[in-house]
Subunit: 157 residues, 2 copies
């Protein structure tokens, strides 16, 4: 029996979650992202590395997008999907639009810093020249639990 | 006579404009940016390089912020100023907030793609955790003319 679409989504989000866990192990905020080609292959995957590289732009989404563009030798990721464990911030939402990502799947909503469904709502303005299809709540509980545990642990130390 | 504040602003924006001109010479959209330390020294300067590196995130502001963070060995550019020839897009406005840039000086407004004074208005939401002081219209005419000439030339070829 071929895998169902739901199983495929889950598999890519599990890869993003493993990147988020690896980020936590490095002391980074646990967010992970995966870029998937139109053919359904993982093109790039990354977790946050803002601290490691002293780079405030090194969110998981930005790193995955940059790596995917390098891999494909293209400035645009037309038809690609991005899986990310947390709702993107305005910076990452802007990068997703600039990269012409076709579909965005994200896990937990981010009322504190999100820029897709709240706050800046980057895709909701005429100044945004590409709007991906957005699917939220994918593996939401696992993504949120990772973040909650990470910050609870940090408050203890 | 020491230079006036206005003369200093002009000097930094002229450096940003020279980066924008160099970007045009490379076939990139002519936008340039400069990061200035709290002591008034240029820490980093960059022009757009999205095409050269197949990197949709390689806007002048992102490159200048990343270079300044590397130079200073810090994830935050507290107290630094960013000079950029064009109103930042939402991606770059998000990066400016994440980097804790103290003051943002920009040239031309960008009704088409801007994310500071229009559209997403990234700094105007509670999800934005750092708001720089914003000064617009610095060397506005030169910045706008550079962009206008670049796109007029491209339409001809």
């Amino acid at each position: 029996m071929p895998p169902s679409r739901a199983m495929v989504f889950t598999s890519f989000m599990q890869t993003a979650l493993s990147e988020a866990r690896a980020a936590a192990d490095r002391g980074e905020v646990p967010v992970g992202a995966v870029v998937v080609s139109p053919q359904g292959k993982v093109v790039a995957q990354a977790g946050n590395r803002t601290r490691e590289g002293n780079d405030p732009t090194a969110h998981a989404e930005i790193l995955a997008i940059r790596a995917a563009c390098t891999h494909l030798g293209a400035e645009r990721l037309t038809g690609c999907a991005l899986y990310v464990t947390l709702e993107p911030c305005p910076m990452c939402a802007g990068a997703i639009a600039a990269a012409r990502i076709g579909r965005l799947y994200y896990g937990a909503a981010d009322p504190k810093s999100g820029g897709v469904a709240q706050g800046a709502r980057v895709f909701a303005h005429p100044q945004c020249h590409h709007i991906p299809e957005v699917f939220d709540g994918i593996a939401e509980r696992e993504s949120a639990a990772l973040l909650r545990d990470f910050f609870a642990q940090r408050r203890k130390t």
